[in-house]
């Protein structure tokens, strides 16, 4: 899909710290993601990637500044904002006791979809993500890769305009990774803005057009990926990453 000038995510002067000042802290952070972009947020462990996604999805509240999704203020806790986006958390976020169909039926209803739409969308997602054969089996008996696909299916159930993905391919085999990345590309072609974090930098390189590198709660680089590689004279995202964040362990 063509990238427009409309901002899908607009973060201005964001300030945040956990109570007790533990974990990532943001101060005066600014970030813009255009509608239709495939945007990657990368950084070492503890840099604040998951915290930033939690702030963008309203799971955490900012201490300062504001976050707008397609013009709507996240801090207002308006449920209209929640209709704009889907979220695929790093952890499995569904009921393990239920089958994929039962999970999709329930989460679809909470997205505000009607029954016929839920049925249609469920069939479509299970088909695309290769879960048709196990549609009525309890998810707790699934492999890690199958659970990842269920996790993704629920995230896109509500036809979101923006999809936040927190390491959606962690711990999966090559086949599953390919299937997930291909599906995400397909979603983006159909207009969904992707905001993605991962430590799989080779995978991210193929998926993301624009990236932001964050470290210690600060954005240290943000631009078109090709431009950044050129500006920093690097041949891959991994080398750019190491060049900007260093080779020391992060605890």
């Amino acid at each position: 899909m063509a990238i427009t000038d409309v901002l899908a995510v607009n973060i201005e002067n964001l300030g945040f710290h956990y109570s007790g000042n533990e974990g990532a802290t943001f101060s005066k952070l600014n970030l813009k993601v255009k509608k239709g972009e495939r945007f990657g947020v990368f950084g070492p462990n503890g840099a604040g990637k998951t915290t930033l996604l939690s702030l963008m999805t309203g799971l955490l509240s900012a201490n300062e500044g504001n976050i707008h999704l397609l013009g709507l203020d996240v801090s207002k806790k308006n449920k209209a904002v929640n209709k704009l986006f889907g979220f695929v958390p790093q952890d499995f976020s569904f009921y393990q006791e239920l089958s994929p169909v039962e999970n999709l039926e329930f989460f679809g209803a909470w997205f505000g979809l009607d029954k016929p739409t839920i049925r249609k969308k469920t069939d479509e997602l299970l088909q695309v993500l290769g879960l048709e054969d196990v549609r009525n089996k309890q998810v707790q008996k699934f492999s890690g890769g199958m659970k990842r696909r269920v996790n993704l299916a629920i995230g896109v159930m509500g036809n979101p305009e923006i999809l936040f993905l927190d390491e959606p391919t962690v711990g999966v085999d090559v086949q599953t990774r390919h299937a997930i990345i291909n599906y995400l590309m397909e979603l983006n072609k159909n207009g969904t803005t992707l905001v993605y974090t991962s430590h799989q930098l080779s995978e991210a390189e193929g998926l993301c057009e624009h990236i932001a590198l964050i470290d210690d709660g600060k954005i240290i680089a943000q631009d078109n990926l090709d431009k950044l590689l050129k500006d920093y004279h690097q041949d891959s995202l991994e080398h750019l990453f190491l060049n900007l964040t260093g080779k020391d362990y992060r605890n």
């Binding site: 999805t57 799971l59 979220f87 958390p89 569904f94 009921y95 039926e105 989460f107 679809g108 209803a109």
Partner: protein, 425 residues
């Protein structure tokens, strides 16, 4: 409405697959109600139908000790078994142990002679008081005391009632002897048997009537007491499944996703309330059905439902709502499944003890009597007892239902506050 139905369906599916939770909510209370009713029924029958075995060692050879044994037998509480030989405390204890007897009595060797002497003395005093000359007014030794041995497992109340019964028997013997002495002193001949019986047996009868709101006479029994009480316990025991479900949802990733969806989590709380109130109503139906149809086959009294079934449904529904509200409240504040299980189970036992499920609240003293009012289970129990034991109507249980609703609303507000404080709604 579709969202709510979908959420209810999800909760039913999750509950249905939680086999351990279902067994805790249904199987355990059923076992509990059957076991406790059986035990309590045995206690009821111990006093009313089954007689207590009492070993009597009569070291006396006189008539009065034989009359005493007959009088003890006539009380109706005891199955009298006489043991021969000169028993001491040690040998009596051994005999009681061998014969599985809870009680033992040793009648001392001089019992009859001392009873006769004491009666003559009492008669003499009486005659002297009337201005007549009696047999003797000399100072008498007291009759040597009877020794009652009892197994410490015997409850205090039952032991006191045993001692009271034996006292009555002794008093009867002494009164008879006194009367005989008086009659002989005045008339110089033996008292006619008919007159003696008339004088001794002409006691004021006690008519025992169980009172009820409706005026009908329902005899309380172990079933009428225990089935409602342990049904309430079962209802509150949903905390193990429901509280755990709330915590699991909070701790699992599913809650993170729920918070990002355009539906308020209160919808989830409402659904859980509906599903689990249904569970408590089902528990009640199952346990009451067991009381009605299974208990008679087990030799237990049948459960008689109150005449006002609407009141029974209303009370059951409100008790269930209160139990569910408590479970959700604890689930919201607990951080781990272990906290819910530990605190939930212990708090239910404490609330049931304070509430009068284990010891009647009328038997409590001071602080605990007032504390009973704070236990929701107390109000549940009072409401059920008004219906089951007093055959009350809906109007009669309002005094219990209103405090129960207030306590339930307190749990609901605490839940809302907890959810808000934790940024969950």
């Amino acid at each position: 409405m579709f969202k709510l139905l979908a959420t209810i369906l999800k909760d039913i599916r999750v509950l249905w697959r939680d086999k351990m939770g279902i067994s805790l909510m249904f199987v355990m209370p059923i076992i509990l109600v059957i076991v406790v009713t059986n035990i309590q029924n045995s206690t009821f029958q111990l006093v009313s139908k089954n007689k207590l075995l009492i070993l009597i060692c009569n070291q006396d050879t006189g008539q009065q000790s034989k009359q005493l044994i007959t009088a003890i037998d006539k009380i109706g509480m005891f199955k009298v078994s006489q043991v021969s030989g000169a028993h001491t405390e040690k040998t009596m204890t051994g005999a009681m142990h061998d014969r599985d007897a809870l009680l033992g009595v040793i009648i001392p060797a001089n019992f009859s002679s001392k009873v006769v002497a004491r009666s003559k003395n009492a008669a003499g005093k009486a005659l002297s008081g009337f201005g007549l000359q009696g047999d003797t007014l000399k100072q008498m030794d007291n009759v040597d005391p009877l020794t009652l041995y009892y197994n410490p497992v015997l409850q205090e109340s039952l032991r006191l009632s045993v001692a009271g019964g034996i006292h009555s028997a002794i008093q009867l013997i002494e009164s008879r002897e006194t009367l005989r002495s008086l009659y002989f002193s005045i008339n110089e001949k033996q008292m006619p048997e008919k007159l003696e019986n008339d004088l001794l047996n002409n006691k004021t009868a006690i008519n025992e009537v169980p009172v009820s709101k409706s005026g009908s006479h329902i005899s309380p029994n172990a079933t009428q007491h225990n089935v409602p009480a342990w049904t309430i316990f079962a209802m509150f025991f949903v905390i193990m499944s429901l509280g755990g479900s709330v915590v699991r949802e909070k701790l699992s990733g599913s809650f993170i996703r729920l918070k990002t969806l355009p539906t308020n989590y209160l919808m989830g709380i409402m659904s859980k309330q509906i599903v689990y109130i249904g569970v408590t109503v089902l528990q009640t139906a199952v346990i009451f059905s067991i009381g009605i149809w299974l208990f008679p086959h087990m030799g237990l009294p049948t459960l008689n439902l109150p005449s006002d079934l609407l009141a029974l449904i209303v009370v059951t529904f409100i008790c269930g709502w209160c139990a569910v509200s408590y479970a959700i409240c604890i689930g919201v504040f607990a951080e781990t499944q272990e906290q819910v299980n530990g605190f939930g189970a212990i708090s239910i036992v404490i609330l049931s003890a304070i509430g009068g499920l284990m010891v009647p609240s009328f038997a409590m003293q001071g602080f605990f009597k007032n504390a009973a009012n704070l236990s929701p289970m107390h109000w549940c129990l009072e409401a059920y007892y008004t219906l089951f034991l007093q055959n009350g109507k809906l109007g009669d249980v309002m005094n219990n239902v209103i405090p129960l609703i207030i306590i339930t609303l307190v749990f609901q507000f605490m839940t809302l506050w907890g959810l808000k404080r934790k940024n969950l709604i």
